[in-house]
């Protein structure tokens, strides 16, 4: 089984990001970048499938700046066999442009499965995976939390409002992965050393801006200070009244 895992270089969710002077982009100075956490579920799932089958190939594909080579090497250290970087100095805000470039790269790869994280934590668009599926004319199951693979087809589970949806699909297919699917592993130190020797193809590309433009980035407004209605049992009636009449949660 040949599996492609598409990963994105994103700012670490623990870093405090600042908006750059242009008011439209992030100031990357001092920001640590990581593999998008949802993509880690995709990578882990691909590696487990390969290990269970005892054979197969896991190819990591990323679209991003030159620095995304480090992101790919992180995935190679965890166990992927090879990597491809579609190197673009500017990544457009329009996910469709990204999806087109990825689809072109993946089209003739002979992949049985193409995995994505369900969402990138930087732009939270949830869109590139399904768009790639559409462009390639492949079935797509999003946000999967469980996966069973059979001969030529698979079954995936998705958590939907109030229950679980079970979806059957034929290969090849595009799947996007959600938290709960598996517990991603850390790279081993030997893996980190081995990653340097694994193939990583860098293909420079130029992407059109697409039809979406970021006009401004704004920090969330400061939270208003809370209200203390009193202390002890005496404050309860007033608290209940406010919860009912003001907050309208009761």
């Amino acid at each position: 089984m040949k599996i492609a895992v598409c990963i994105k270089r994103v700012p670490d969710s623990e870093t405090r990001v600042k908006i750059a002077a242009d008011g439209k982009t992030l100031d990357e100075a001092g920001v640590k970048f990581i593999v998008n956490p949802y993509d880690e579920f995709a990578l882990e799932e691909a590696l487990r499938r390969k290990e269970q089958a005892g054979s197969g190939e896991v190819v990591v594909v990323s679209l991003g700046p030159a620095a995304a080579q480090e992101t790919i090497r992180a995935a190679l250290a965890i166990g992927a066999d090879s990597g491809v970087l579609l190197q673009a100095d500017r990544v457009p805000a329009d996910g469709l442009e990204v999806a087109r470039a990825l689809a072109a790269e993946l089209k003739d790869g002979g992949f049985d499965l193409i995995l994505f994280g369900k969402v990138a934590i930087d732009d939270s668009n949830h869109q590139v995976g399904p768009m790639v599926a559409e462009l390639l004319g492949l079935p797509c199951v999003t946000a999967i939390t469980h996966l069973e693979l059979g001969a030529g087809q698979g079954t995936a589970e998705r958590e939907v409002e109030g229950g679980i949806e079970v979806v059957e699909f034929p290969f090849p297919a595009v799947l996007t992965t959600d938290k709960g699917l598996n517990e991603p592993r850390l790279p081993s130190l030997k893996g980190i050393m081995a990653a340097k020797k694994k193939p990583l193809a860098v293909k420079p590309i130029t992407l059109p801006a697409g039809s979406i433009e970021v006009l401004a980035m704004l920090p969330p407004p400061d939270r208003k200070a809370g209200k203390i209605v009193g202390e002890g049992g005496a404050a309860v009636p007033e608290l209940v009244r406010l919860l009912r009449e003001e907050a309208k949660v009761l």
Binding site: R73, L189, K190
Partner: protein
Amino acid sequence: MAPKFQGVDFYEVDGLLSEDERAVRDTVRAWVDDNLIPIIGTQYSAGRFPKQLIPAMAELGLFGANLPETYGCAGLNNVAYGLIMQELERGDSGVRSFASVQGALVMFPIHEFGSEDQKRRWLPQMASGQVIGCFGLTEPDYGSNPAGLITTAKPAPGGEGWVLNGTKMWITNGSTAQIAIVWAKTGALDDPGSIRGFLVPTDAKGFTAKDQTGKLSLRASDTSELVLEDVRVSKDALLPKSEGLKSPLSCLTAARYGIAWGAVGAAMACYDEALQYAKARVMFGKPIAGFQLQQARLVEMLSEITKAQLLCLQLGRLKDQGQATPQQVSLAKRNNVSMATDVAREARRLLGANGILAEYQAMRHLANLESVYTYEGTHDVHTLILGQEITGLNAFA
């Protein structure tokens, strides 16, 4: 819950590290956050080494990580190895000690002084954590003066092999280990040149290991007394290339190198905890971080940590070029452990009454670091090593 540890890097030292070095550091950091930090307070209070972590540490490749891949090790450079020690000790000095002993004090001498057979037999098993080792040099009456040790190895009567007799003290991993490297004199007791290393299986007849109890420091680490009473070992137990006191001393240099880095990790943990606490703890109507006295504490900690980080990094680069001297290692061990002890104490004080709880880290690190200050060459011994180096005069005796 405390915010996730982000490291301490005021001077962009990260920029001086390679991508692999950072990847190694980040991996160990994440592992420590997920596996060690949640349990260490309880393990420490209970006085138990977290043995359950050994398989995962081995799987990551933490043991003997700077030894070659040929023997199942990770083949990292010395800076990456140092960063592993830093991150482990950010968790706990006892857990770092475990890894130091396994790697620098047992795997290193097997690699350095062992035969090819010994290397092939032991190193892969030790890298994979199937075999745990300990290092027996210190004796009840010979600590800072190892040249005087009185453990003996005599040719076995009527056959090949050796018979060992003696007592070793303060042996980390002593009761956990399957294999002990025992340093013994094969000649006269006044001849430190006759010191050789022996690989002694801990299940050999006449070998006993007893945990030392009552420790108020390094409580999450096993420390034992080893007694060897007519322990007979085969002739291939001898590390053939070990020769005189300089052999065990070179192991100590290897371990001290890791300790110099480890101490920085403990200091970073304490500084980070103190800073987070100071920003959150309100007294007299504002966070205590807003008071000059606490700011002075924090600034002092940060300054010392930053200097120690740069010291370690340059030492590591020198070691990777084969240029680091034992005296340079002494300076780093001496400076950094003393620095970390001071940082831990100040952090403990900044935390006020909370600072004495196992729920916080500072007091545990402080108590641990008092041992680290004393072991692997006491602070004072390193002072004398350096004094001799710069003046040419021996002030030991």
